[in-house]
Symmetry: C2
Subunit: 243 residues, 2 copies
Amino acid sequence: MDGAGKLLGLGVGPGDPELLTIKAARLLRGAPVVAWFARSGRTGHARRIADDYLAPDIEELRFTYPFTTEIPKRSAAYREAMKAFYDEAAARLSATLDDGRDVALLCEGDPLFYGSFMYMHDRLAARYETEIVPGVTAMAACWSRAGAPMTRGDDCLSVLAGTLDEDTLAARLKAADAAVVMKVGRHLGKVRRALDRAGLSERAIYVENGSTPDERIVRLSDMPTDDAPYFSLVLVPSGRATS
Amino acid sequence: MDGAGKLLGLGVGPGDPELLTIKAARLLRGAPVVAWFARSGRTGHARRIADDYLAPDIEELRFTYPFTTEIPKRSAAYREAMKAFYDEAAARLSATLDDGRDVALLCEGDPLFYGSFMYMHDRLAARYETEIVPGVTAMAACWSRAGAPMTRGDDCLSVLAGTLDEDTLAARLKAADAAVVMKVGRHLGKVRRALDRAGLSERAIYVENGSTPDERIVRLSDMPTDDAPYFSLVLVPSGRATS
């Protein structure tokens, strides 16, 4: 649209503010408006990471996820609530862009690898100039901190969601050369059982809050509870021998 | 080792020098010695990306891959040649570290996601203080440039090596929600056939030299030849409908 602002999808990386790219930092410093998603009552992880890079007079658009804990995640009601939420966020972004102002939408990790930016991209990218800046993913930060070589030679990496059912997880893990289980949180008990069934428990490393001051990295077998926070994942590095 | 230097494994990202992290740039500027791998007769992709960030009086260690084109990749002779090469590179790093100097080893993309850094890590991480800085991967840069939302909700991402045989590739692609085929290069014809067999050709996007001035992004079905350069990959974004 002529005269409209530009939508910037900026990956802000996994947590450590120094893990932003030089490009994302530059674009953030120049942005007149910043937008971000957060759960109710929280600052928002992406917003916290970006804090050092925002212009002092920046305008902020906060999109607070609706309370959906009482609605089953696979129900039509849940899908409808989320669709209405994303429609409204897109409408607010659209109003700002129509006003001729660029908006930097903050994305934890990388914008197009899970995360809410994609729902804005679906709704807006055809109508507004859009630039996407890739970011360091949480999984890359976690395997770097753990010092775990993940994939060598012809290895395949399987990135799996901990929200899958146990049978699906076990089957996919069994077929993997190396794997990352994302979205572990309250699914840790099930993820452990799936890893056991796939014969991978010995290789599994548990990481919570990777690259932040609250980081914890342990062999999964040394993790005493199944009480894992939202920002946790399990790494299964390549089983291939050193060469 | 007391008094020894520190080994820094620095992800320098996919190609655009602005896609370095702020942390990698800071550590590079302060490094007394930089090391990098390159093929014979080439500058080395990682070295070129890092060029703007090196101290003027930096000492350089170049590790030139041996000529192995005449040796079959799966042979014992090939493995032996590569092992000897990595042993020698590690010995040169070790001599510098023993001398009390830190060494920044440059890694295209991310240090622990494919790439030669892992072979140095295997040999040196137990003996020297080692810090690894994650980087933006080539695949993330490519899907950002292509504007292709890759994984939503419970989607799994399969990262596959184009060097695998056609049957293995086809089977793994068939099981994938979303996929990236790395190391395409001279395997593009085979990768196309495997995508066809998995019913994924329509969704496939071909990217070469992503995030560099020589970038090319096309639907794979619009790519007229099978003549792909070394830095090329194929993206298969999520087939999940927008919500």
